[in-house]
Subunit: 761 residues, 2 copies
C-alpha cells in the first residue's frame, strides 16, 4: 500500500508555500518543525517559520476589555523555540533561489513509511549551471529530540566551489495575525538567549522564557560528505551561529550536508543543555542512517496496527493514511503534553489542547495504540488539581472543571461564553476514560487515575446542576455548538453528564468489589451519600424533548428562536463567526456544529432511531459546519441511521480537509480533531463500530463508491483485521487472545481463525 | 433654608482625603475639578488629582482577550486635562502642610447657594508662626470655562515674607486602579503639550490627544492683593509653568492670591487658545466678585425651581439638596456632553454616559428645568447616526441601538453581556422623550428630534424581536439587572419596548394630524406598513407571568434557577460582582437590582397592585442592591404600594449614599443616578407623582418620621409648589398659566389660587 504523497509544484506562490509548510511539516509528538523552505521566501510572503516543543509554553498577559471577577487574564502559549531550518547554497556566485534563475523541477514528498519529507529540485542558475537538490527532513520517533536535514547537491553540468551556509538562530518570534481571533494577535519575543556558543564545531544555545522561566537548549552539528571542504563556524552579536562550508564539486558529483538539531527543555530535564550534549554525541556516533532505519521500524509497527485501506481508491487511502500519520506526529509521547488543536504543525489556537483530544482523536488511539491513549489520559490526570482550582474560580464548592483550552491545565480561554462555559469538557474526558476502559479492560488505570477524575467531574455536575422537582437540571452552560451559548439543559451536556455520573458510580462499585477503592476514598474524602446522589442525578437527568415535533431541542430555549435562513446568507459570510457578532448568532437557530448529532455519535446505541432521524434532519438544515468537527459527526450518525450516501459525502469532505485545504486555513496548521473524526467516519460510521458495556460490535456496510475497505483495531489486547468487500465482512484475529465481539447483532468468538459473514445490504 | 455643608476634619487621613475630593469637588456641567488640596498629599496616598471637561475624550485601545467579530476594541475615555490646583505656601521658611507643624483648625465647606467650596484652616508652623487660611474655589455657571481659587492667608502672630508658589501643569495623567473593573486599569499620558508659554504674566498651554486629535487650551492668571509683592512667572523644561510671589505680610494682615483658570477645547471652538485669551481677558476685567455674584444669581434661579425641603429635618434636607446640587453640577449645558455616571467628580466609569441619565436623572430635570432636559435629549439625537451604525454592527437590518456606555455616541462597552446587550437603553431613551413631551407638551421637539428617535428605536425592536405565533418576543437581551444576562423576554425590556412602539405610532399620528411628518417620513424612508407592524408588536408584546405563583418572572428562564441564599452569603462578599465570576451569578436567582421593580417604577399606573406587591416581595428577598440604582426604585415602588416605612427606609439609605459614603466608593466620584433616584423617591414615591397621557397626578403621603415636606415642579410651563404637612396637601401655582392636575384621583384646576386637600392617611 502506497503511503507516499508527492506534489509537483508548478507555480510556486505565497498561498502554495504557506499551505505546504503545514502539509509537509515534520513532527514526532515532542517536536514539530514547519515545512518552511531552507533558503527562505520573500519577506512579504506569509510564512510561519516555526519549530515547536509540545507542552513548552510562556505565560502571557491576556488583558480583558472589562476585567470582571475571576476572569482569566493570562494565558499559556506554545512557543516557536528556534530556527535551525536555514541552509543557503551558492552555486558559482549565484544564490540558489526559486525566485531567480530557472526552476526545472520542484517537488515535495511526504513518505509516511520512511517517516521523512523530501524536496526534489532541479535548478538552473542565471549563469546556466544546473544543480539537482534532494533535501530530506526527519523528526525522529526514536530520538524525540532529534530533527535532521540531509541536504544533497548534485552538479549536473559544471565544476565549482559550492558555498553552503547553515544557520542556528536561538532567538525567534511567534507568528501573529491580528485579524483572526483563532490566532495570536501579538508577535513578541518570548525567549531570550542566555547561552550561545560553539564547542568542537557543535553550536549550542540555551534560551529562557520571562514568566514561565522554562529553558530550551538547542544544539546543532553538521557533517559533510566532501572531505576537502573548508569549514568555519562563527557567532554573530545577535547570537546567531553560522556554519559555512566551501566545497569543491565536479560535474556529475553529489555532495551531502547533514544537519542535526537536538532540542531539549527544562520541563523534562533539569539541565537541558547537559542532556542535549549527550544526545548530540550519541546522534553523531550513530549517524543518520541509523535513525532512518529506526524511523522505518517505528512506523512499520504503527502501520501494522493503524492500517486502513480503501480498495481501488488510492487517493482516498492516501488521505486517510495522511490523517492517521498526522495524528501520530501530533500526539505527545509523555504526559507533559497532549495533542494540540493544530498538532505541532502551526501556531493556530496557540498550541492549546481542547476536548478535541478526548472526543475526536482518542477513538483512533484507543483502537490502534491503547498505550498512547493511556498516556494522553494521564496528562489529564496530572492536571486534575488545576481543574479543581478552576472549579473554585467559577464558584463551585466541590468537584473539578477541566479548562476549555490549556497547555498545563490552567484555563486559557479569554471569552468564557464559548470557552470556560463549555462544561461538557468534563463529560468528554469522562467519556474517553470509560471508553478506554471498555476497549482495554484496564482496571488498574481506573483505580490509579480514571476513577478519581470520574468522581471529581461527577461532583462538579452535582454542584452545577440541581434537582428541580423530579428532574436534575444543568443551567447556564455552553454545548459544543458555539453559535448558541450559556443555555439551560444543553442536550449534549446533559447526556455526557448523565453518563459521567452513572459510570463514576458503576466503576466505583466494580473497584469496590475488588477492594480497590480504599486509598481513593480517603484521598478525595468521598461519602457514600455522594454516590447515591450521583446515581439519582444520573437517573433523573433532564433531557429536553419536544413532544409536539418529536425532535430534540438543543437546549431549553433553542426552539424559542427564529430559524436562520442559510439559503439567504451570502457565501462570503461563512464562517459566520467571522462575519456576525456573537449576540446576533445566539439569537437564531443556527449551529456551528450540532450538539444533538454529537450526542448521537456517542450514544446512538441507546436511542430511538426515529427521534434521531427527525432530529438529525432538522439540525442538518441549520448547521453551517463552520467547525471542522462538524462533518465527521454528521457522517458517523448518517451511517448509523442508514443514510449511506450522506454519510459518504460528509466523510469525503472531512477526509481531505487539510490535504485539499477545504477550510482555507490549513496554512495555520492541520485540523487534528477532524483527522480523528475522519477515522471515526469509517470505523464508527461505515463499519458501524460501537463500544458499550456489552462489548465491541460491528455492523459494516460498503459505501457505493468503494469496492472494499479494511482496517485493524485493538480490542482487549488483541489485534483484529476487519475486511469488507462487496460480498463479505471478514474479521481475523491477528494477534492476542481470542475475543468475542458482536457482528450484526450476533456474537462471534474470534479464536485463531477468521469469522466471515455476508455483508448486510 | 440652609444649603451649606461644613465638615470639621479631626483626623485627616487617606480615606477622608480621597472621599472629600469627591464631596467637595466643583463642577458646572462643562468643567469639573476634584477637591484635591492645593498643597498636595503624601505620594503614597490615594489621590485623584483631576480636572475634567465634559465630553472631552481620547480614544484608547480596549484589547479583547479574544476578539470575536465586531467586538468593541477601543473606547473613549474622559481625560484629566490639566492641573492648576497646586498652590504652595511658605511661611517664614516652613512649607505649609497638614503633615508638619500643628493643625489648629481644618474645615471644608460646600455652599450650595454661593456655589463655592471653601477650606478654612488654622495652622501653626514648627517655628510657632500661626496662619489662617481661607481657600475658596468656584467653577462658574456664568463663564463655564472658568475655575477660580481664592487663596487668603492671615498672619496671626508674626511678620515675614510669605512665599507663594502656584503651578500650571498641562501634562497630566489619568488615575487608574487595576483591581477594580469599574475604573480604568491603565494610567497613560493621553495629552501631549504642543504649546506652553507666558504672555503678560498669563500662562497658557495647548495640549492635544494622540488619536481623537482634540485640543485643550488652559490659561492661568493670578492677581494678588499685596501691591509690594515680587512676582516671577517661569517655565520649566517639562512645560510646567510656575508663578512665584514673595509677599511681605505683617501680623494681623491678610493677603489674597486669586488664581483664574480658563479651560477651552477644540470640540466647541475652532481655536480654543484664541477663545481662551478672550475669556481670560474678560475674566480679569470683571474680577472675581462679579462671578461670585453671578454664581449666586444663577443658583438662586435654580433653587427657585428645584427646591425641596423637609420640615424639621435639616440633615435630610441638606442631603436632598446636596443631591440636586450635584445633578446640576454634573449636567452638560450644551449637547456636546451629557451626564456621566460620576458626573464631573471623578474618573469612575471613565466619564461615560449610561441609561442613568434618562431613567434616573431626567425626571429631576424635566420637573425642575425642562430646558436642560431638552438639551440632554438633544445630545442623544446628535448621536443617532452612531446608534444606527451600532445596530448594524450587531447585525440588525434596521433601526438604531444606542450604546450602553459612551461619550460621543460610540459603544464603549468591553463586556457586551452586561453592556451592549442591554437593549433596554433604547426603550429608556424613548421613555424619557415621551415623558418630556408629557410634562412640557413640546411637540416641536418631538417633530424635530424626538419622533425620529422613537421611530428608529421602534424599528430596532421590530428587528430584534419577532412574532412567535400570537406573541411578540424579544430574545437574548440583558435587562438592567446585571446579575442575569442574555435572556429571552426580559420583563423590563419588553415593557419599555412596548411603550416605545406604542408611542412611536401615537406621536407620529399626532404629528401627522398637524401635518408635521412630511420631512421625517422622507428622511427615514418610513412606510405605513412599519407603523402597523409597530402597533401590532406593541399590542402582542409578550410579558412573562407565572400563573401558578402570580408573580412576574424577570425573564423566561428566571424561575428555572435556584434561589441564591443571601442570608448565607458572607458580608465581605458584597458587592457580589467583585467576589463571584459572572457565570456563577447568572446561575442563580439573585439580582443586583430588580428589573420587575424597575418596570413598576415606570408603569405602576397600568398594573395590578396585587401582582406588583407579590412580585415586589419576591424580588426584595433576592436583591442585593449592589447597584446604586436599586434602592431608589424599591423606595418609589414601596411607596406606590402603600409600604410607607419600607419606602422611607430605602429612601434614607439612598439619600445619603455619597454624603455618608455608604457604598465605600464615593472617592471615585458621586453616584449621579442615585441622586436622581433620591429625588424620585420623594416626588414619585412619597408624593405619588405620576405622569401619563392623562396628565400629572399626585397622591402624597407623609413619611412617619417627617413633619412635612415641600417641593416645586414645572408642568406645562407653569411652576407649582407642593406642600405636605401632617394635615394637608397644598398645591400652589407659583408662575405660569393655569394647569389642571389630578390629586388623589380628583381633577384640580390650579388657577391663580392654591388648592388644598386633606392628606390621605
Amino acid at each position: 500500500m502506497n503511503k507516499v504523497i508527492t506534489k509537483k509544484i508548478k507555480s510556486f506562490d505565497n498561498a502554495r508555500s504557506s499551505l505546504d509548510e503545514t502539509i509537509f511539516h515534520n513532527a514526532n509528538g515532542y517536536i514539530g518543525v514547519r515545512g518552511t523552505i531552507e533558503e527562505g521566501v520573500p519577506a512579504e510572503w506569509d510564512t510561519m517559520r516555526g519549530m515547536y516543543i509540545n507542552g513548552f509554553y510562556e505565560v502571557i498577559p491576556m488583558k480583558q476589555a472589562e476585567n470582571l471577577c475571576n476572569f482569566v487574564d493570562k494565558k499559556e502559549t506554545m512557543l516557536n523555540v528556534c530556527d535551525t531550518q536555514t541552509i543557503k547554497l551558492n552555486v558559482n556566485g549565484h544564490d540558489f533561489s526559486l525566485f531567480s534563475g530557472k526552476t526545472l523541477l520542484n517537488e515535495r514528498t511526504l513518505d509516511m513509511e520512511a517517516g521523512i519529507t523530501k524536496r526534489n529540485i532541479r535548478w538552473q542558475s542565471p549563469k546556466g549551471d544546473k544543480v539537482g537538490l534532494e533535501i530530506k527532513r526527519m523528526t525522529s520517533f526514536e530520538e524525540l529530540s532529534l530533527f535532521t536535514i540531509e541536504y544533497s547537491v548534485t552538479a549536473e553540468n559544471f565544476d565549482c566551489e559550492l558555498v553552503l551556509r547553515s544557520l542556528h538562530l536561538p532567538e525567534v518570534y511567534n507568528y501573529s495575525d491580528p485579524n483572526d481571533p483563532r490566532l495570536a494577535a501579538d508577535s513578541e519575543k518570548f525567549l531570550h538567549c542566555i547561552t550561545a556558543d560553539i564547542k568542537d564545531s557543535v553550536s549550542y544555545t540555551v534560551t529562557e522564557t520571562n514568566v514561565s522561566k522554562l529553558k530550551c537548549a538547542t544544539l546543532v552539528a553538521h557533517t559533510i560528505s566532501a572531505k576537502n571542504s573548508r569549514i568555519c563556524v562563527s557567532k554573530t552579536d545577535d547570537n546567531t551561529i553560522i556554519y559555512d562550508a566551501v566545497v569543491p564539486i565536479k560535474k556529475g558529483q553529489t555532495i551531502t550536508l547533514t544537519k542535526y538539531t537536538i532540542i531539549t527543555d527544562s520541563l523534562r530535564h533539569k539541565d537541558p543543555l547537559e542532556v542535549g550534549f549527550k544526545k548530540i554525541e550519541a546522534v553523531l556516533k550513530n549517524g543518520i542512517d541509523h535513525y532512518y532505519e529506526a524511523q522505518k521500524a517505528y512506523l512499520s509497527g504503527f502501520w501494522s496496527k493503524a492500517m486502513m485501506e480503501i480498495e481501488n481508491d488510492n487517493e482516498m487511502s492516501l488521505a486517510v493514511n495522511f490523517n492517521m500519520y498526522q495524528l501520530l506526529q501530533s500526539a505527545a509521547k509523555d504526559s507533559y503534553g497532549n495533542i494540540a488543536a493544530k498538532g505541532l504543525s502551526g501556531e493556530g489556537y496557540e498550541g492549546h489542547y481542547f476536548w478535541d483530544t478526548e472526543m475526536f482523536m482518542m477513538p483512533f488511539f484507543v483502537l490502534t495504540n491503547p498505550e498512547l491513549a493511556k498516556q494522553l489520559l494521564k496528562y489529564r490526570y496530572q492536571t486534575l488539581d488545576k481543574a479543581r482550582e478552576n472549579a473554585q474560580f467559577l464558584g463551585h464548592k466541590k468537584g473539578a472543571l477541566f479548562p476549555w483550552r490549556t497547555i498545563t491545565g490552567v484555563e486559557c480561554s479569554g471569552y468564557y461564553p464559548s470557552g470556560t462555559c463549555q462544561y461538557h469538557i468534563d463529560g468528554d474526558i469522562a467519556y474517553a476514560i470509560i471508553n478506554y476502559y471498555l476497549v482495554t479492560g484496564d482496571l488498574d488505570f481506573i483505580r490509579d487515575f480514571g476513577e478519581e477524575i470520574l468522581l471529581e467531574t461527577a461532583r462538579l455536575w452535582l454542584d452545577v446542576g440541581f434537582f428541580d422537582g423530579d428532574r436534575f437540571v444543568i443551567n447556564m452552560v455552553t454545548g459544543p455548538d458555539e453559535y448558541t451559548c450559556m443555555v439551560n439543559n444543553n442536550y449534549y451536556t446533559n447526556m455526557v453528564a448523565k453518563y459521567n455520573l452513572e459510570w463514576a458510580v458503576k466503576l466505583f462499585s466494580i473497584l469496590e468489589e475488588k477492594g480497590m477503592t480504599g486509598k481513593l476514598k480517603k484521598k478525595i474524602k468521598l461519602h457514600d451519600a455522594e454516590l447515591t446522589e450521583m446515581s439519582q442525578a444520573a437517573e433523573k437527568m433532564y433531557l429536553p424533548f419536544d413532544e409536539k415535533s418529536g425532535i430534540i431541542p438543543q437546549d431549553d430555549s433553542f426552539f424559542d428562536k427564529p430559524v436562520w435562513d442559510l439559503s439567504k446568507t451570502p457565501k462570503g459570510n461563512f464562517p459566520l463567526l467571522l462575519h456576525y457578532h456573537p449576540l446576533h448568532l445566539y439569537r437564531y437557530q443556527v449551529c456551528k456544529q450540532a450538539d444533538t448529532v454529537m450526542a448521537f455519535l456517542l450514544f446512538s446505541q441507546v436511542m430511538d432511531k426515529e427521534i434521531m432521524r427527525r432530529t438529525y434532519e432538522y439540525y442538518e438544515k441549520i448547521t453551517t459546519h463552520d467547525s471542522s468537527l462538524s462533518k465527521c459527526a454528521f457522517s458517523v450518525v448518517a451511517a448509523n441511521l442508514g443514510m449511506r450516501e450522506k454519510a459518504y459525502s460528509y466523510f469525503g469532505n472531512s477526509a481531505k480537509l487539510d490535504l485539499m485545504n477545504l477550510h482555507h486555513n490549513t496554512k495555520d496548521g492541520i485540523h487534528t480533531a477532524n483527522m480523528g473524526g475522519c477515522y471515526m467516519s469509517v470505523v464508527y460510521g461505515f463499519a458501524g463500530l460501537s463500544i458499550t458495556e456489552k462489548g465491541l460490535s460491528l455492523a459494516p456496510f460498503l459505501p457505493d463508491k468503494w469496492e472494499g475497505y479494511s482496517f485493524k483495531i485493538c480490542f482487549m489486547g488483541s489485534v483484529l483485521l476487519v475486511e469488507i468487500d462487496s460480498e463479505n465482512v471478514k474479521i481475523s484475529l491477528i494477534s492476542g487472545d481470542p475475543v468475542e465481539i458482536t457482528l450484526y447483532d450476533k456474537k462471534v468468538k474470534l479464536m485463531d481463525k477468521t469469522a466471515t459473514k455476508s455483508l448486510l445490504r
